[in-house]
């Protein structure tokens, strides 16, 4: 088996990996990428590390939470909400 060359094709795949993982590439382009990485262990390793990065990002939520809402802030929002409901009621014929 020929040793793999880290070549321009790898760079093309590298540039398209997120689009590939997001399923945002046309089918032909997906097939080309899959055909390449099937025989390219560096690209497989790299693609897998990027896929795991995306998974981690999707699972991530900050531990930081907002402070409980103060009464004044809540009253301000309730007032705006009340105006919104009133405006909608007034604009709709009974």
């Amino acid at each position: 088996m020929e040793p793999h060359q880290h070549n321009d094709r790898c760079k093309e795949v590298f540039a398209l990996l997120s689009d590939y993982l997001n399923l945002e590439l046309p089918p032909e382009a997906c097939q080309e990428i899959e055909a390449h990485i099937a025989g390219c262990s560096p690209c497989i390793e790299f693609a897998e590390s990027l896929r795991k990065t995306v998974e981690l990002c999707r699972q991530y939520h900050p531990t930081e939470l907002p402070a409980p809402m103060g009464q004044e802030a809540k009253a301000q929002l309730l007032e705006a909400y009340g105006r919104m409901l009133a405006a909608r009621t007034n604009s709709q014929p009974f």
Partner: protein, 213 residues
């Protein structure tokens, strides 16, 4: 909360159903806070952005014709509120990230080309994310230049589509795709350096430099 449930909540809010207000405020306040905390960099601004955004939502709710678009609508308002708070980022200077800086280094190994990469194989997919990884990820996100940070927060954390993100940020779909890829590559690189450099235990397995074979 799923997008369908969110849309239903928005419908209930507009219809004035009991409890919809409290549920809506509780749910979206936390979401907006998270986004703006990572964008603005401090709690005070993030809490103000959350309040201003919710206020604006109620003031302009009559413009919300399609409740199924509530998430992107709320985040568009939040993005603008964050811009109003804009200060020089304390985390990251505004700069362009290039693809080249994230290409892994390569070397010859017995006639084969190998890339320098940590052993990611036993890293858990995220469900068991440990606090160490969480902190590292958080730092990596906060260190991204602002334009990349906003894209990865909306696309990967808030799971908005490319088109929705483009509309929120007033850029093209292609710009969103480009920035998302570079943001992910930057974070991947930080995680990779960490896994290689520290050889720490993550998810119960010890990680270190991938052994040459």
């Amino acid at each position: 909360m799923e997008r369908d449930t969110e849309s239903e909540l928005a419908r209930q809010l507009i219809a004035g159903e009991p409890e919809a207000f409290d549920r809506f405020v509780e749910y979206f306040r936390a979401k907006i806070f998270h986004y703006s905390w990572l964008m603005c960099g401090n709690r005070e601004d993030a809490e103000e952005v959350a309040q201003e955004t919710l206020l604006k939502v109620f003031e302009s709710a009559e413009q919300l014709r399609e409740p199924e678009k509530i998430r992107s609508w709320v985040f568009r308002i939040a993005k603008n509120a964050c811009l109003m708070k804009r200060r020089k980022s304390i985390f990251a200077p505004g700069r362009e990230l290039s693809l080249d800086e994230f290409m892994p280094a390569k070397h010859q190994d017995g006639g084969r080309v190998r890339i320098e990469i940590a052993d990611w194989s036993s890293l858990p997919d995220g469900k068991a994310m440990r606090s160490e990884m969480r902190e590292l990820l958080e730092r990596a996100i906060r260190e991204l230049p602002e334009v990349y940070r906003s894209v990865i927060l909306l696309r990967d954390m808030e799971e908005l589509s490319t088109q929705e993100t483009a509309q929120i940020l007033d850029v093209s779909d292609d710009v969103v795709k480009t920035r998302l890829h570079r943001a992910r590559l930057a974070i991947r690189q930080r995680l990779d350096e960490y896994l290689r450099g520290n050889g720490v235990e993550v998810g119960g397995k010890r990680h270190g430099t991938a052994p040459a074979q």
